[in-house]
Symmetry: C2
Amino acid sequence: MSAPALTGRGSFLLTNVGELTTNVAVEGDPCGTVLDAAVLVRDGRVAWAGPREEIPDAAARGAGEQIEVVDAGGRAVIPGFVDSHTHLVFGGDRAEEFAARMAGERYAAGGIRTTVAATRAASDDDLRERLRALVAEGRAQGTTTLEIKTGYGLDVGTETRLARLAAEVTDEVTFLGAHVVAPEFAGRADEYVDLVVGAMLDAVAPHARWVDVFCETGAFSPAQSRRVLEAGRAQGLGIRVHGNQLGYGDGAALAVSLGAAAVDHCTFLSDDDVAALAASDTVATLLPGVEFSTRQPYPDARRLLDAGATVALASDCNPGSSFTSSMPLMIALAVREMGMTPAEAVWAATAGGARALRRTDVGVIEPGARADLVLLDAPSRVHLAYRPGVPLVRRVWKDGVES
Amino acid sequence: MSAPALTGRGSFLLTNVGELTTNVAVEGDPCGTVLDAAVLVRDGRVAWAGPREEIPDAAARGAGEQIEVVDAGGRAVIPGFVDSHTHLVFGGDRAEEFAARMAGERYAAGGIRTTVAATRAASDDDLRERLRALVAEGRAQGTTTLEIKTGYGLDVGTETRLARLAAEVTDEVTFLGAHVVAPEFAGRADEYVDLVVGAMLDAVAPHARWVDVFCETGAFSPAQSRRVLEAGRAQGLGIRVHGNQLGYGDGAALAVSLGAAAVDHCTFLSDDDVAALAASDTVATLLPGVEFSTRQPYPDARRLLDAGATVALASDCNPGSSFTSSMPLMIALAVREMGMTPAEAVWAATAGGARALRRTDVGVIEPGARADLVLLDAPSRVHLAYRPGVPLVRRVWKDGVES
């Protein structure tokens, strides 16, 4: 290997990494852990990753003047978090609803309408300011890839506006016109679905990569959900589903039958659902922030993993049921409450999220991948669960550039 | 009121505070909440706090040149957290034990001995470096007053060393020689207690304000615990107790009978314990980080509050059962798991901690109190529970000086 040109932005050697999580699976270790490791980054991509003593050439070892060397001080490095389920474009907040729920009121999907009213009333600038603040907040906690859904507009103009704003900060925009039935269509869900699969989809699809639907009692029926997803697919969108959050239902089965990239929530799954997920390419995305903030029982990640399903963790950051952007907390909750090991939880929050977005360039540290790296203020990824609530993310690079 | 001289370090006017939690109780609001508020700080102490429109004179309104004005931007301000139960002086960590426990092993107090070995082997410099890093970590999350215990030495020399190191960073040092029986005294607990109440106490007491004991099956019996506490009291130390963590027991009753400032854990309380606490000045300090990290059931804060007991929240930051310094997470857990309202939890993490340390100068924002202030990146203290895991602490002042 000839001496690389490492003068540009997005090029450096990260060395003295005590524990590197590559997510390049090896026998017995899906996290592809390398101790005393280094990562060579060139032009925003990973050029090489491996044991420090095998750094490929003299320049990369830092002997040349042109290379920036970053010393990790023996700390742990993981791929940037891939948060595959968020709702970051909205107006207002629902702190009072939260406090009331904690005092005993039950979570109901209808609360979404509160945010719909605030979102419709908000200016683009207000929405953008909030959105960018939340993206920055997530980035500071290690999130380098974000999916963002529409779904607080529920009319053609506002849904389009939300998709445009989301597209300013991510390529992973999801059309969720079918979040709940718009208030103007109360009692006329099928007519609302006509709008969603018609003019609304036409307007939003150019800004989106995915279509999603909330398939749940109180939101959309399986038949309505199928209509929405098939219409989105016909316009070239990939499929994702909200399902099985508040009770048993058809969301997971529908997702698998349509080849969805992911079905999200999965709090209430039948044995058949688990078996179907395990036999499919559909990722089960678990959102423990929702169970935390709605005081619901947590999904059983262990059951899914033991059956062979692929599990992702995401924040579901939204102002109603999970107003957290903290992927480290999702990991801690997954370990405390859902039967995951720390390694499984970290994998699910990085590689799992990437699978849920059908991405191979993120959630992994290998040659060619985006140089999305998180340096922890800890010797091991285990500390993300062992030290709950502590801001352990010390440095973050996205595309090789530090945030 | 004449124009104050506000030129010095530790003097400023904090204004445009959207929601100020003073903890100066008013009818129906123990948090003494003031909306659209300001706080005048002079020489590290609170000089005045109240509605912004009532700022006492022209200079304080920022008209004069000599006053530094800090604009809170409508955000919430609370007193700095008073973390009244930590074990921050130790060597090593126990990440592997944590991971094993999450895979199904049960927490046992004996794991403390692992840390004892690492602590005895550590140099003062190593212990100091870790200690200071943890203090800084807590400060960044809003903790401005910390109690720190010895208890990982268990011999005269090391316990003294730990007390000296703790005293470098706090006035609230607690002698916990009776944490577990030292390994050299295995099976000879009474002989170990002889040492604790004899040479060890003599050596440590000059550095400490408090004496504490772990009154629990597997640690010290009620009779042994009483000996330790009475001996400490005879040397002028205040009393605190670890009790009722792993099962029902005599810790709480003993604490009340001796007029302890606090009994900490209180996970398993009888009706008599609750009644005794409610009728006493002994604070029930709840440590939900322990239940989180040991997967134990949470204490029932609601039951204590409804009975009229005073409740504090603390981190119990230690490498075995709760390696978190995050008071915001304690608040979020108290709301999610222990039946507290957000206001009760914030009070318990500030004023409650102050009561548990018998301090009147912290945990409150009123004239004469230390200017220990936390500016949240949120419009309300409710967000500490509503936004779990998110680092919401934006700025921290201790004694009027920003950290």
